[in-house]
């Protein structure tokens, strides 16, 4: 018997896939959503979970399109007769000089990360609001509140995700629907594999992480599972950093190892008036 039905977006890899596996292990029925270009890994993920005995439907579609969210919700209701949770996790990132980047990268980032987040949460919330119960978790990022070189579009989009989560939390609290956010730091996902597994590149980032390692996707999934559970019943609009201590402050940062993308020009203090 299905005790809980949850939609997970960005479910074909990384945090989304780990979340799907975790929730399936906890007995939830799942609607997995991933981008059309990830249709194959999405099917593999769905098949893998079905082999473990989970009830799974899968939908390969762009979360930035309004029809996708509506389809995910209606598929979930059709298959499982209920919708209890949403892990709105789909996100993309471009890396590169922010001044010269084509504006299409900004638009695409916001299309998926912000518009997709808004549409997905809204569609799920309509059902949950009527039911008077439901739990939603948005994947924000430490980039929601920290700046980072060559990540202007991504960081702006994640800042927007954090504020979406907070504001939608206020709008939905009166209806018994909880919205919270998880803010992962560096995670060892396929999308980050090129950086994490390259000692040269990783040395630039590891120095900021007191735990001196990236998270495993399962460690983010565990926090999402907590936020989707009744154990988080008094959280509302909370943004939970899961970052190995990165936003707590500075450890003994090895500044020599921090390579900047451009040479840092010294900004001299203004001359005192004579």
């Amino acid at each position: 018997m299905t005790t809980r039905a949850v939609i997970v977006t960005g479910a074909s890899s990384g945090i989304g896939l780990a979340t799907a596996r975790r929730l399936a292990g906890d007995g939830a029925a799942l609607c997995l959503v991933a981008a059309p270009f990830d249709a194959d890994p999405l099917e593999q993920a769905a098949d893998g979970l079905r082999e473990q005995g989970a009830d799974v439907v899968a939908l390969a579609a762009d979360v930035g399109e309004e029809a996708t969210a509506d389809r995910a919700v209606s598929e979930t209701l059709r298959a499982f007769g209920r919708l209890d949770g949403l892990a709105s996790n789909a996100g993309i990132a471009y890396w590169g000089d922010s001044v010269d980047a084509p504006v299409e990268q900004f638009d695409h980032t916001f299309h998926v990360n912000v518009r997709g987040m808004y549409l997905m949460v809204r569609a799920a919330a309509r059902v949950m609001r009527s039911a008077g119960v439901g739990r939603i978790v948005c994947t924000a990022s430490t980039a929601s509140y920290l700046g980072e070189e060559c990540q202007a579009s991504y960081n702006a989009s994640k800042g927007a995700v954090m504020q979406l989560a907070r504001s939608l939390a206020l709008d939905l609290a009166p209806y018994g629907v909880a919205v919270n956010a998880v803010a992962p730091g560096w995670v060892d996902t396929p999308a980050n594999a090129g950086i994490v597994s390259d000692p040269g590149q990783w040395s630039k980032h590891r120095t900021h992480i007191p735990m001196d390692r990236p998270a495993r996707p399962e460690e983010i999934a565990a926090v999402i599972a907590f936020l989707l559970s009744d154990d988080a019943s008094y959280l509302c609009g909370a943004v939970v950093a899961v970052d190995g201590g990165m936003t707590a402050g500075f450890r003994t940062t090895d500044w020599e190892a921090v390579e900047r993308p451009v040479e840092v020009r010294r900004h001299d203090a203004p001359k005192a008036a004579a």
């Binding site: 206020l170 009166p174 735990m211 565990a222």
Partner: protein, 257 residues
């Protein structure tokens, strides 16, 4: 033994009532060996009895005034000696000035007493316990929404809870290489026996309780059990990549003006 903190030894301060007592119960229900400490031994003993009723496991009750720094080391050493180690600390002991003085009307003694318990007591407890804490250990401090926003006529408490937040971050960095995590739970207005005592002094306690609840967008006070669930999560291995973080459990109070 099964459970989310199975086999761990957990020391909880301020365990005589409210959030501390609920934390003892939840940790014990999830397999921890609990040491309930309170300034008043009888209160710790009541908690130990409650733990046994709720979990079937015995809990140790000890008298510990965290504001008395000479005794903190001795009592924590005794606890560690008895159980061999301390894996989890819930540094929960804290209080505010019930008569709610403005900062202008707060005396030196009042200010120092709030900081002695809420800040110095937390520091002494954590430092003492860390001498006995193996890798995989976890410390959970109790901040407040006052760690982020101020409250009128609660200045000493607000300043002390701001200190709790930054202490938590600083300690997280100092012990990360030992494989120990440090986080803080920041509750909003919680319906504890102490809150009730305060409400009961009002002309219309239920009206004031409703007013307290309305501070939160969720339109109710939180329960000690809800905070205990957050403490349990941060204390457990489920939170293995979470350190130096504040978990705000306030029904949404601080995210709106």
């Amino acid at each position: 033994m099964s459970g989310r903190v199975a086999g761990k030894v957990a020391l909880v301060t301020g365990a005589g009532t409210g959030i501390g007592r609920a934390a003892c119960v939840r940790l014990a229900q999830e397999g921890a060996t609990v040491v309930a400490s309170s300034r008043t031994l009888a209160h710790a003993q009541e908690t130990a009895a409650e733990v046994e009723r709720a979990s079937g496991a015995a809990a140790l009750a000890v008298a510990l005034d965290v504001g008395d720094r000479e005794t903190v080391d001795r009592v924590v050493d005794e606890v560690a000696g008895r159980h061999g180690r301390i894996d989890i600390v819930v540094a929960n002991a804290g209080f505010t000035l019930a008569h709610a003085p403005s900062l202008m009307d707060t005396t030196d003694e009042e200010w120092e007493r709030v900081f002695r318990v809420n800040v110095t007591g937390m520091f002494s407890t954590c430092r003492a316990a860390l001498r006995h804490m193996p890798a995989g250990g976890a410390i959970v401090t109790i901040g407040s929404i006052n760690s982020f926003v101020a409250w009128e006529n609660d200045g000493a408490y607000t300043a002390s809870k701001g200190a709790v937040l930054q202490f938590t971050r600083a300690l997280a960095l100092d012990v990360v290489a030992r494989g120990i995590r440090v986080n803080t739970v920041c509750p909003g207005v919680i319906d504890t026996p102490l809150t009730r005592e305060f409400l009961d002094r009002a002309e219309d306690p239920e009206a004031l309780a409703a007013e307290y609840g309305a501070v939160a967008p969720m339109n109710r006070m939180g329960t000690p059990e809800e905070i205990a669930n957050c403490i349990l999560f941060l204390a457990s291995d489920e939170a293995s990549f979470v350190t130096g973080t504040s978990l705000i459990a306030d029904g949404g109070t601080v995210i709106r003006p």
